[in-house]
Protein backbone atom coordinates (compact mmCIF):
# COMPACT_ATOMS: atom_id res chain seq x y z
CA UNK A 1 0.00 0.00 0.00
CA UNK A 2 1.33 3.43 -0.90
CA UNK A 3 2.15 5.95 1.80
CA UNK A 4 -0.49 8.49 0.71
CA UNK A 5 -3.11 5.74 0.84
CA UNK A 6 -1.93 4.78 4.32
CA UNK A 7 -2.26 8.36 5.51
CA UNK A 8 -5.81 8.55 4.16
CA UNK A 9 -6.77 5.32 5.88
CA UNK A 10 -5.26 6.45 9.17
CA UNK A 11 -7.07 9.77 8.97
CA UNK A 12 -10.40 8.07 8.15
CA UNK A 13 -9.91 5.51 10.93
CA UNK A 14 -9.25 8.35 13.35
CA UNK A 15 -12.40 10.26 12.33
CA UNK A 16 -14.65 7.22 12.45
CA UNK A 17 -13.20 6.14 15.78
CA UNK A 18 -14.07 9.56 17.25
CA UNK A 19 -17.67 9.16 16.08
CA UNK A 20 -18.00 5.64 17.46
CA UNK A 21 -16.41 6.65 20.73
CA UNK A 22 -18.86 9.51 21.09
CA UNK A 23 -21.81 7.22 20.32
CA UNK A 24 -20.60 4.71 22.91
CA UNK A 25 -20.88 7.39 25.60
CA UNK A 26 -24.53 8.07 24.81
CA UNK A 27 -27.29 6.38 26.87
CA UNK A 28 -27.78 2.77 25.95
CA UNK A 29 -31.31 3.19 24.75
CA UNK A 30 -32.65 6.32 23.13
CA UNK A 31 -36.31 6.51 22.29
CA UNK A 32 -37.10 8.36 19.07
CA UNK A 33 -38.66 11.34 20.85
CA UNK A 34 -37.80 13.84 18.16
CA UNK A 35 -39.61 11.71 15.58
CA UNK A 36 -42.68 11.42 17.84
CA UNK A 37 -42.74 15.17 18.44
CA UNK A 38 -42.54 15.82 14.73
CA UNK A 39 -45.58 13.59 14.15
CA UNK A 40 -47.46 15.44 16.88
CA UNK A 41 -46.61 18.79 15.32
CA UNK A 42 -47.82 17.68 11.88
CA UNK A 43 -51.04 16.31 13.33
CA UNK A 44 -51.79 19.64 15.03
CA UNK A 45 -51.23 21.41 11.72
CA UNK A 46 -53.57 19.01 9.95
CA UNK A 47 -56.30 19.61 12.52
CA UNK A 48 -55.88 23.35 12.10
CA UNK A 49 -56.06 23.10 8.30
CA UNK A 50 -59.19 20.92 8.50
CA UNK A 51 -60.93 23.35 10.80
CA UNK A 52 -60.28 26.19 8.37
CA UNK A 53 -61.25 24.16 5.34
CA UNK A 54 -57.79 24.31 3.75
CA UNK A 55 -58.10 21.01 1.89
CA UNK A 56 -54.97 21.28 -0.25
CA UNK A 57 -52.81 22.14 2.76
CA UNK A 58 -54.39 19.32 4.74
CA UNK A 59 -53.63 16.83 1.97
CA UNK A 60 -49.97 17.89 1.77
CA UNK A 61 -49.60 17.67 5.52
CA UNK A 62 -51.16 14.21 5.58
CA UNK A 63 -48.54 12.99 3.10
CA UNK A 64 -45.80 14.44 5.28
CA UNK A 65 -47.30 12.82 8.36
CA UNK A 66 -47.40 9.47 6.58
CA UNK A 67 -43.69 9.77 5.74
CA UNK A 68 -42.89 10.86 9.32
CA UNK A 69 -44.80 7.91 10.79
CA UNK A 70 -42.95 5.46 8.54
CA UNK A 71 -39.65 6.99 9.61
CA UNK A 72 -40.71 6.75 13.26
CA UNK A 73 -41.67 3.12 12.74
CA UNK A 74 -38.18 2.45 11.39
CA UNK A 75 -36.55 4.26 14.32
CA UNK A 76 -38.60 2.31 16.85
CA UNK A 77 -37.67 -0.92 15.13
CA UNK A 78 -34.01 0.06 15.21
CA UNK A 79 -34.19 0.86 18.91
CA UNK A 80 -35.85 -2.47 19.62
CA UNK A 81 -33.18 -4.22 17.61
CA UNK A 82 -30.53 -2.52 19.70
CA UNK A 83 -31.98 -3.97 22.88
CA UNK A 84 -31.22 -7.51 21.74
CA UNK A 85 -28.19 -8.75 23.75
CA UNK A 86 -26.86 -10.63 20.70
CA UNK A 87 -26.22 -7.42 18.82
CA UNK A 88 -25.69 -4.93 21.58
CA UNK A 89 -22.06 -4.18 22.26
CA UNK A 90 -20.46 -1.08 23.62
CA UNK A 91 -16.86 -2.03 22.89
CA UNK A 92 -15.54 0.39 20.32
CA UNK A 93 -13.03 -0.84 17.79
CA UNK A 94 -9.61 0.68 18.25
CA UNK A 95 -8.17 2.97 15.62
CA UNK A 96 -5.85 0.13 14.59
CA UNK A 97 -8.80 -2.21 14.14
CA UNK A 98 -10.68 0.42 12.14
CA UNK A 99 -7.60 0.89 9.99
CA UNK A 100 -7.64 -2.86 9.29
CA UNK A 101 -11.37 -2.65 8.46
CA UNK A 102 -10.74 0.10 5.91
CA UNK A 103 -7.73 -1.61 4.38
CA UNK A 104 -9.70 -4.80 3.89
CA UNK A 105 -12.33 -2.83 1.96
CA UNK A 106 -9.73 -2.02 -0.69
CA UNK A 107 -9.06 -5.73 -1.19
CA UNK A 108 -12.72 -6.71 -1.30
CA UNK A 109 -14.28 -4.01 -3.47
CA UNK A 110 -13.72 -2.27 -6.82
CA UNK A 111 -13.04 1.12 -5.30
CA UNK A 112 -13.14 2.93 -1.97
CA UNK A 113 -13.42 6.71 -1.72
CA UNK A 114 -13.11 9.10 1.22
CA UNK A 115 -14.85 12.45 1.44
CA UNK A 116 -13.54 14.08 4.62
CA UNK A 117 -15.42 17.31 4.05
CA UNK A 118 -18.85 15.64 3.96
CA UNK A 119 -17.75 12.71 6.16
CA UNK A 120 -18.76 10.08 3.60
CA UNK A 121 -17.08 6.74 3.05
CA UNK A 122 -18.01 5.27 -0.36
CA UNK A 123 -17.51 1.73 -1.54
CA UNK A 124 -18.10 0.76 -5.16
CA UNK A 125 -19.44 -2.70 -5.93
CA UNK A 126 -18.70 -4.79 -8.96
CA UNK A 127 -21.39 -4.66 -11.68
CA UNK A 128 -24.60 -6.19 -10.41
CA UNK A 129 -26.28 -8.56 -12.88
CA UNK A 130 -29.58 -10.08 -11.82
CA UNK A 131 -31.34 -12.53 -14.12
CA UNK A 132 -29.28 -11.30 -17.07
CA UNK A 133 -30.20 -7.68 -16.45
CA UNK A 134 -27.04 -5.64 -15.94
CA UNK A 135 -27.82 -2.93 -13.38
CA UNK A 136 -24.23 -1.71 -13.32
CA UNK A 137 -22.10 -0.87 -10.32
CA UNK A 138 -23.46 0.74 -7.17
CA UNK A 139 -21.96 3.12 -4.67
CA UNK A 140 -22.64 2.40 -1.02
CA UNK A 141 -22.22 5.79 0.67
CA UNK A 142 -21.86 5.68 4.44
CA UNK A 143 -22.13 8.99 6.31
CA UNK A 144 -19.92 8.29 9.28
CA UNK A 145 -21.19 11.17 11.39
CA UNK A 146 -24.66 9.59 11.20
CA UNK A 147 -23.58 6.18 12.48
CA UNK A 148 -26.00 6.52 15.40
CA UNK A 149 -28.95 6.90 13.03
CA UNK A 150 -31.12 4.04 11.81
CA UNK A 151 -30.03 4.24 8.19
CA UNK A 152 -26.86 6.30 7.80
CA UNK A 153 -26.15 5.21 4.24
CA UNK A 154 -27.53 5.51 0.70
CA UNK A 155 -27.20 3.45 -2.48
CA UNK A 156 -26.42 5.19 -5.77
CA UNK A 157 -26.31 3.54 -9.18
CA UNK A 158 -23.23 4.70 -11.07
CA UNK A 159 -24.92 4.35 -14.47
CA UNK A 160 -28.56 3.97 -13.53
CA UNK A 161 -30.61 1.46 -15.43
CA UNK A 162 -33.93 2.48 -13.94
CA UNK A 163 -37.08 0.39 -13.95
CA UNK A 164 -39.25 1.35 -16.90
CA UNK A 165 -42.35 1.75 -14.77
CA UNK A 166 -40.73 3.61 -11.84
CA UNK A 167 -37.75 5.89 -12.37
CA UNK A 168 -36.99 6.09 -8.65
CA UNK A 169 -36.11 2.36 -8.61
CA UNK A 170 -32.54 1.57 -9.72
CA UNK A 171 -32.45 -1.91 -8.21
CA UNK A 172 -35.32 -4.25 -7.27
CA UNK A 173 -34.67 -3.44 -3.58
CA UNK A 174 -33.54 0.19 -3.87
CA UNK A 175 -35.93 3.12 -4.17
CA UNK A 176 -34.95 6.76 -3.89
CA UNK A 177 -31.40 5.64 -3.05
CA UNK A 178 -32.62 3.74 0.01
CA UNK A 179 -32.04 0.00 0.35
CA UNK A 180 -34.77 -2.09 1.87
CA UNK A 181 -32.56 -4.39 3.93
CA UNK A 182 -35.01 -7.26 4.40
CA UNK A 183 -33.22 -10.23 6.00
CA UNK A 184 -30.05 -8.19 6.41
CA UNK A 185 -31.57 -5.50 8.64
CA UNK A 186 -30.40 -6.77 12.02
CA UNK A 187 -26.96 -7.81 10.87
CA UNK A 188 -26.42 -4.37 9.30
CA UNK A 189 -27.52 -2.61 12.49
CA UNK A 190 -25.17 -4.75 14.57
CA UNK A 191 -22.21 -4.21 12.24
CA UNK A 192 -22.68 -0.42 12.23
CA UNK A 193 -23.15 -0.24 15.96
CA UNK A 194 -19.89 -2.10 16.51
CA UNK A 195 -17.95 -0.27 13.82
CA UNK A 196 -17.45 -3.43 11.76
CA UNK A 197 -17.31 -1.50 8.51
CA UNK A 198 -16.02 -4.42 6.46
CA UNK A 199 -18.98 -6.55 7.51
CA UNK A 200 -21.43 -3.69 6.92
CA UNK A 201 -20.34 -3.11 3.33
CA UNK A 202 -20.12 -6.85 2.66
CA UNK A 203 -23.67 -7.46 3.88
CA UNK A 204 -25.06 -4.56 1.84
CA UNK A 205 -23.21 -5.77 -1.25
CA UNK A 206 -24.66 -9.27 -0.80
CA UNK A 207 -28.17 -7.85 -0.60
CA UNK A 208 -27.56 -5.93 -3.81
CA UNK A 209 -26.34 -9.13 -5.45
CA UNK A 210 -29.43 -11.09 -4.40
CA UNK A 211 -32.80 -10.89 -6.13
CA UNK A 212 -35.83 -11.55 -3.96
CA UNK A 213 -38.59 -11.80 -6.56
CA UNK A 214 -41.27 -12.03 -3.87
CA UNK A 215 -40.61 -8.58 -2.46
CA UNK A 216 -39.23 -6.16 -5.00
CA UNK A 217 -40.18 -2.54 -5.67
CA UNK A 218 -40.26 -3.52 -9.35
CA UNK A 219 -39.80 -7.12 -10.40
CA UNK A 220 -37.15 -7.89 -12.99
CA UNK A 221 -39.77 -9.34 -15.34
CA UNK A 222 -41.26 -5.83 -15.52
CA UNK A 223 -37.94 -3.98 -15.51
CA UNK A 224 -37.56 -3.35 -19.21
CA UNK A 225 -40.46 -1.58 -20.78
CA UNK A 226 -42.65 1.43 -20.34
CA UNK A 227 -45.96 2.03 -18.62
CA UNK A 228 -49.06 2.16 -20.79
CA UNK A 229 -50.39 5.72 -20.69
CA UNK A 230 -53.99 4.49 -20.41
CA UNK A 231 -53.96 1.50 -18.02
CA UNK A 232 -50.53 1.92 -16.37
CA UNK A 233 -49.41 -1.68 -16.92
CA UNK A 234 -45.77 -2.29 -17.89
CA UNK A 235 -45.27 -3.00 -21.57
CA UNK A 236 -42.18 -4.67 -22.97
CA UNK A 237 -40.56 -2.97 -25.94
CA UNK A 238 -41.59 -5.87 -28.19
CA UNK A 239 -45.28 -5.31 -27.44
CA UNK A 240 -45.18 -1.51 -27.30
CA UNK A 241 -47.37 0.74 -29.46
CA UNK A 242 -47.01 4.51 -29.71
CA UNK A 243 -49.86 6.95 -30.18
CA UNK A 244 -49.52 8.50 -33.62
CA UNK A 245 -50.48 11.92 -32.25
CA UNK A 246 -48.91 12.28 -28.78
CA UNK A 247 -46.29 9.48 -29.03
CA UNK A 248 -47.21 8.06 -25.59
CA UNK A 249 -46.67 4.33 -24.92
CA UNK A 250 -49.57 1.93 -25.22
CA UNK A 251 -50.21 -1.74 -24.56
CA UNK A 252 -52.01 -4.00 -27.04
CA UNK A 253 -55.22 -3.83 -24.99
CA UNK A 254 -55.44 -0.02 -24.92
CA UNK A 255 -54.36 0.89 -28.45
CA UNK A 256 -57.22 2.31 -30.55
CA UNK A 257 -57.22 2.35 -34.34
CA UNK A 258 -58.92 5.25 -36.06
CA UNK A 259 -61.89 3.94 -38.01
CA UNK A 260 -61.02 6.03 -41.05
CA UNK A 261 -57.19 6.20 -41.37
CA UNK A 262 -56.55 3.07 -39.20
CA UNK A 263 -53.55 4.63 -37.47
CA UNK A 264 -52.90 3.78 -33.77
CA UNK A 265 -53.86 6.20 -31.00
CA UNK A 266 -54.33 6.39 -27.24
CA UNK A 267 -57.75 6.92 -25.71
CA UNK A 268 -57.16 10.66 -25.27
CA UNK A 269 -56.42 11.27 -28.94
CA UNK A 270 -59.60 9.80 -30.43
CA UNK A 271 -63.21 10.86 -30.20
CA UNK A 272 -66.51 9.54 -31.44
CA UNK A 273 -68.02 10.86 -34.63
CA UNK A 274 -71.30 12.58 -33.79
CA UNK A 275 -72.87 10.85 -36.76
CA UNK A 276 -71.75 7.22 -36.98
CA UNK A 277 -70.27 7.18 -33.41
CA UNK A 278 -67.11 5.44 -34.62
CA UNK A 279 -63.81 6.33 -32.89
CA UNK A 280 -61.73 8.60 -35.10
CA UNK A 281 -58.59 10.69 -34.73
CA UNK A 282 -58.36 14.47 -34.89
CA UNK A 283 -57.23 14.43 -38.49
CA UNK A 284 -60.25 12.41 -39.60
CA UNK A 285 -62.81 14.42 -37.64
CA UNK A 286 -64.01 17.79 -38.87
CA UNK A 287 -66.27 20.39 -37.35
CA UNK A 288 -69.59 21.14 -39.01
CA UNK A 289 -69.50 24.91 -39.63
CA UNK A 290 -73.14 25.23 -38.62
CA UNK A 291 -73.65 23.07 -35.53
CA UNK A 292 -69.95 22.84 -34.52
CA UNK A 293 -70.22 19.11 -33.78
CA UNK A 294 -67.46 16.83 -35.05
CA UNK A 295 -68.02 14.30 -37.79
CA UNK A 296 -65.83 11.94 -39.77
CA UNK A 297 -65.43 12.46 -43.50
CA UNK A 298 -68.03 9.80 -44.21
CA UNK A 299 -70.60 11.81 -42.29
CA UNK A 300 -69.85 15.20 -43.83
CA UNK A 301 -70.75 16.65 -47.21
CA UNK A 302 -68.49 18.56 -49.55
CA UNK A 303 -69.52 21.77 -47.80
CA UNK A 304 -68.17 20.13 -44.58
CA UNK A 305 -71.63 20.22 -43.10
CA UNK A 306 -73.24 17.30 -41.39
CA UNK A 307 -76.25 15.69 -42.94
CA UNK A 308 -78.71 17.59 -40.79
CA UNK A 309 -77.18 21.03 -41.39
CA UNK A 310 -76.60 20.32 -45.06
CA UNK A 311 -80.24 19.41 -45.50
CA UNK A 312 -81.32 22.53 -43.66
CA UNK A 313 -79.15 24.74 -45.82
CA UNK A 314 -80.46 23.07 -48.98
CA UNK A 315 -84.03 23.75 -47.92
CA UNK A 316 -83.26 27.38 -47.26
CA UNK A 317 -81.58 27.80 -50.63
CA UNK A 318 -84.65 26.59 -52.48
CA UNK A 319 -87.02 29.17 -50.92
CA UNK A 320 -87.73 32.17 -53.24
CA UNK A 321 -86.00 35.46 -52.32
CA UNK A 322 -88.37 38.16 -51.04
CA UNK A 323 -89.03 40.80 -53.81
CA UNK A 324 -87.32 44.22 -53.58
CA UNK A 325 -89.00 47.55 -54.69
CA UNK A 326 -88.47 48.28 -58.47
CA UNK A 327 -86.88 45.00 -59.14
CA UNK A 328 -87.87 43.20 -62.31
CA UNK A 329 -89.24 39.68 -62.47
CA UNK A 330 -86.61 37.09 -62.14
CA UNK A 331 -87.02 35.80 -65.73
CA UNK A 332 -87.82 39.13 -67.50
CA UNK A 333 -85.58 41.63 -69.36
CA UNK A 334 -83.59 43.81 -67.06
CA UNK A 335 -83.53 47.09 -68.92
CA UNK A 336 -84.72 48.98 -65.92
CA UNK A 337 -82.34 47.09 -63.75
CA UNK A 338 -79.37 47.97 -65.93
CA UNK A 339 -80.38 51.59 -65.96
CA UNK A 340 -80.71 51.52 -62.20
CA UNK A 341 -77.27 50.00 -61.89
CA UNK A 342 -75.84 52.58 -64.27
CA UNK A 343 -77.50 55.31 -62.28
CA UNK A 344 -76.05 53.90 -59.03
CA UNK A 345 -72.62 53.75 -60.60
CA UNK A 346 -72.88 57.28 -61.78
CA UNK A 347 -73.81 58.30 -58.31
CA UNK A 348 -70.45 57.09 -57.31
CA UNK A 349 -71.79 54.12 -55.41
CA UNK A 350 -70.09 50.86 -56.03
CA UNK A 351 -72.46 48.37 -57.57
CA UNK A 352 -72.31 44.65 -58.13
CA UNK A 353 -72.34 43.52 -61.70
CA UNK A 354 -75.89 42.97 -62.81
CA UNK A 355 -76.94 39.40 -63.04
CA UNK A 356 -79.89 37.64 -64.30
CA UNK A 357 -82.87 38.34 -62.15
CA UNK A 358 -81.23 40.87 -59.88
CA UNK A 359 -81.49 44.63 -59.40
CA UNK A 360 -78.50 46.76 -58.74
CA UNK A 361 -77.42 46.91 -55.15
CA UNK A 362 -78.92 49.90 -53.43
CA UNK A 363 -76.45 52.31 -51.88
Amino acid sequence: MTEPRQRILLRAADRIHDELDWLAKLPDVRLPEAGWQECGRLLRQINKADLRGWDAASQRLRLRLEAALRSLESQVSGTACGLSPVVWQRDVLSQRQLYDELRALHDEFEDVEYDFKNKVLTVVTEPIVLEEIDLGSFEIRLEWDDLGEVSPYTIWAREPFRAGSNESVTHPHVQDEKLCEGDGHKAIAAALRQGRLFDFFTIVARILSTYNSGSAYVSLSDWIGEPCVDCGSNVSHDDLYRCDRCSESLCTECVVNCERCEDAFCGQCVARCSGCEELCCDRCLGKCPDCARRFCRECRYQDQKCEECHAASQTQAQRPEPALAGAPAADGLQTEGIEAAAGATKAGVAAEPVRMGQAAVSP
Binding site: A104, G182, A190
Partner: protein, 74 residues
Protein backbone atom coordinates in the same frame (compact mmCIF):
# COMPACT_ATOMS: atom_id res chain seq x y z
CA UNK B 1 -7.38 -20.56 22.17
CA UNK B 2 -9.55 -17.46 21.74
CA UNK B 3 -10.79 -16.11 18.43
CA UNK B 4 -13.31 -13.46 17.35
CA UNK B 5 -16.28 -15.12 15.70
CA UNK B 6 -18.74 -13.04 13.62
CA UNK B 7 -21.82 -14.55 12.05
CA UNK B 8 -23.74 -12.13 9.81
CA UNK B 9 -26.67 -14.42 9.27
CA UNK B 10 -30.04 -13.37 10.70
CA UNK B 11 -29.68 -11.18 13.78
CA UNK B 12 -25.91 -11.60 13.73
CA UNK B 13 -23.39 -12.68 16.30
CA UNK B 14 -20.09 -11.09 17.20
CA UNK B 15 -18.05 -12.20 20.20
CA UNK B 16 -14.85 -13.85 21.37
CA UNK B 17 -15.08 -17.63 21.72
CA UNK B 18 -12.79 -20.44 22.78
CA UNK B 19 -11.83 -23.07 20.20
CA UNK B 20 -9.42 -25.95 19.98
CA UNK B 21 -5.91 -25.16 18.86
CA UNK B 22 -5.10 -26.33 15.33
CA UNK B 23 -8.68 -26.41 14.09
CA UNK B 24 -9.10 -25.66 10.40
CA UNK B 25 -11.54 -23.23 8.82
CA UNK B 26 -13.63 -26.05 7.32
CA UNK B 27 -13.79 -27.85 10.71
CA UNK B 28 -14.79 -24.61 12.39
CA UNK B 29 -17.52 -24.07 9.84
CA UNK B 30 -18.91 -27.57 10.21
CA UNK B 31 -19.06 -27.10 13.97
CA UNK B 32 -20.67 -23.67 13.93
CA UNK B 33 -22.87 -24.03 10.87
CA UNK B 34 -24.10 -27.64 10.84
CA UNK B 35 -26.23 -28.55 7.85
CA UNK B 36 -25.02 -25.59 5.79
CA UNK B 37 -22.79 -25.61 2.74
CA UNK B 38 -19.60 -23.52 2.84
CA UNK B 39 -20.26 -22.49 -0.77
CA UNK B 40 -23.32 -20.57 0.42
CA UNK B 41 -21.22 -18.29 2.62
CA UNK B 42 -18.39 -15.79 2.41
CA UNK B 43 -15.84 -17.05 4.93
CA UNK B 44 -13.12 -14.57 5.84
CA UNK B 45 -10.31 -14.87 8.33
CA UNK B 46 -8.94 -11.49 9.35
CA UNK B 47 -11.09 -10.09 6.54
CA UNK B 48 -9.27 -12.10 3.89
CA UNK B 49 -10.49 -15.09 1.86
CA UNK B 50 -8.79 -18.32 2.93
CA UNK B 51 -8.64 -21.94 1.91
CA UNK B 52 -10.68 -24.56 3.75
CA UNK B 53 -7.61 -26.20 5.25
CA UNK B 54 -6.20 -22.99 6.78
CA UNK B 55 -5.51 -23.46 10.44
CA UNK B 56 -6.91 -20.87 12.80
CA UNK B 57 -4.56 -18.99 15.11
CA UNK B 58 -4.97 -17.29 18.45
CA UNK B 59 -6.67 -13.90 18.02
CA UNK B 60 -7.96 -14.60 14.50
CA UNK B 61 -11.15 -12.90 13.36
CA UNK B 62 -13.49 -15.29 11.54
CA UNK B 63 -16.55 -13.91 9.77
CA UNK B 64 -19.29 -15.88 8.03
CA UNK B 65 -21.67 -13.95 5.77
CA UNK B 66 -24.40 -15.51 3.61
CA UNK B 67 -23.80 -15.13 -0.11
CA UNK B 68 -27.52 -14.55 -0.64
CA UNK B 69 -29.30 -12.11 1.64
CA UNK B 70 -32.85 -11.23 0.64
CA UNK B 71 -33.71 -7.57 0.44
CA UNK B 72 -37.33 -6.45 0.31
CA UNK B 73 -39.60 -3.60 -0.60
CA UNK B 74 -40.73 -1.23 2.15
Amino acid sequence: MQVMYINNQGAGFADHIEIEAGITVSQFFEHKMPGHRPADFLIRVNRQPVTADTQLQEGDRISITPVKIDGARQ
